[in-house]
């Protein structure tokens, strides 16, 4: 129990209250993130409505294999993160460490696959510019949104991995007790990043492939 009380921070008087506050605060932050991605999604939606044929043509050039592989990786990482958070909450430090490490590995794997995918995309010339291979010109708009949205998603993932790595190390060194509400906050954020990917997948990979 002293480990649990170690998790308690000012200004909270009980761990339960602190946990509730962490959850509330992270949900508020996620609300702002929804609006952040929402701005880009709005732009994407408007242009897709204006140029449906160009978008379908452009989307066919995304690599569905990479996309599917990354989806599987990320969804699995949400599973491992879920288990990590639940076991931390119950005080199971070891289980939590293993699952956090697994999440870290899967998240990194996502980035590696993404790296290969970006390399292939660039090799095919699919970066908007004078050498862009597709016609008409509006296909470049699709690809502009592809790079921006997957890029911003990847940055969110990298930041999440950074925090995840730091928390894993602190947990390992017993500098952070497993009952700390921070794990709940991290898990919420991770699931959000996963949800964003689940939205991006059909918009970027699945249109035009019916």
């Amino acid at each position: 129990m002293s480990e649990a009380s170690h998790a308690l921070n000012d200004p909270w008087s009980t761990l339960a209250r602190q946990r509730a506050a962490m959850s509330f605060g992270v949900w508020l932050f996620l609300a702002s993130e929804v609006l952040f991605f929402g701005g880009a999604l709005l732009g994407y939606t408007i242009y897709r409505d204006l140029y449906p044929d160009a978008f379908r043509l452009a989307a066919r050039e995304t690599d569905i294999v990479y996309g599917t592989l990354n989806t599987a990786i990320l969804l699995t990482s949400s599973l491992t993160m879920f288990v990590a958070e639940r076991s931390a909450h119950e005080g199971f430090r070891r289980t939590s460490l293993w699952c956090l490490a697994a999440t870290l590995a899967l998240g990194s794997a996502f980035l590696v696959v993404k790296g290969f995918e970006y390399y292939d995309d660039i090799a095919k010339g699919l970066f908007p510019g004078p050498a862009f291979p597709l016609q008409p010109a509006q296909t470049q708009i699709f690809w502009a949104f592809y790079w921006v949205m997957t890029g911003v998603h990847a940055i969110h993932l990298i930041l999440g991995l950074g925090i995840l790595a730091a928390m894993t190390v602190l947990l390992y060194r017993r500098a952070l007790p497993p009952q700390s509400p921070s794990f709940q906050g991290l898990a919420l954020y991770w699931h959000f990043v996963d949800s964003v990917w689940v939205v991006l997948l059909p918009l970027l990979y699945l249109i035009g492939r019916a």
């Binding site: 140029y51 449906p52 044929d53 160009a54 016609q135 008409p136 010109a137 509006q138």
Partner: protein
Amino acid sequence: MNLSDFTAEASSHAAAVDRLFYVLVGLSIFISLAVFALVLLFSLRYRRGSRAKRGPMPKFIQREVEIGWTCATFVLFLFIFWWAAASQLSALTPPKNALEISVVAKQWMWKVEQPNGVREINEIHVPADKPVRLSMISQDVIHSLFLPALRIKQDVLPQRYTYLWFTARKTGTFHLTCAEFCGTEHSRMAGRIVVLPPADYARWIEAQPEKLGLAREGEALYRSLGCSGCHATASTVHAPDLNGVFGRSVHLADGRTVTADEAYLRDSILLPGRDIVAGYEPVMPSYRGIVSEEQMIRLLAYLKSSSIKQGAEP
């Protein structure tokens, strides 16, 4: 230049705007003075230590007053909205048989084309008492054509036509300027609108160096750019017939039906792959970078005229 170049009421719309404006000014002065007066009155009467009566508050004050002034404010604002909207609605429909003048904005000047091809720079000559419609486009960034004496303004966008219409009732020379920040010399992008009595306007047009007229120049471009090569009925290439195309309904390959307006025709020339007509192959080359805005105005003028003959020689 004097202030009347800006403040003259050069159209009936301008007069209507001024009426609404001055009523709102009166209302604002009244409300501001009322608030100021009450604050002053209370400050003096109820200053600390004054002998004004305080004691128990009147019973009816809180709720009824609150509801009262909320409703009054709501109704007042609703009324102002209605008045403003009503005067705007009448300005919504473009006038029939308007004189069509084209404006191309660029950093940092206005290029104006009268219908018969007369060109002006930073000046627009218009006849009084006749509806005029300005069809405007930018070559680069967003500008905004502002005619203070007519109390109108409209942003001028790249790659998209925007419109401004008016009927000038006063003759004279009035100010014209750019009202959307467009770069270094934004504040130097000014000019004049010259409203002439209709007879004088006609004489002025006649006095300009001889021009064929925009549609005739457009016809010449239609041939020299190779349009007639495919779109003439005698052509071996299967291309849509453009005789009388302006304003017609067009069935597209993806099932939609659109109206062939200026935006559609412009896109068809610059982005031909965008909206393919049903029953045709997407073989038309794009004229982006080949046709300038001024040439586009002439081509559109030609397409709008009904003088495209069947089987005209290329």
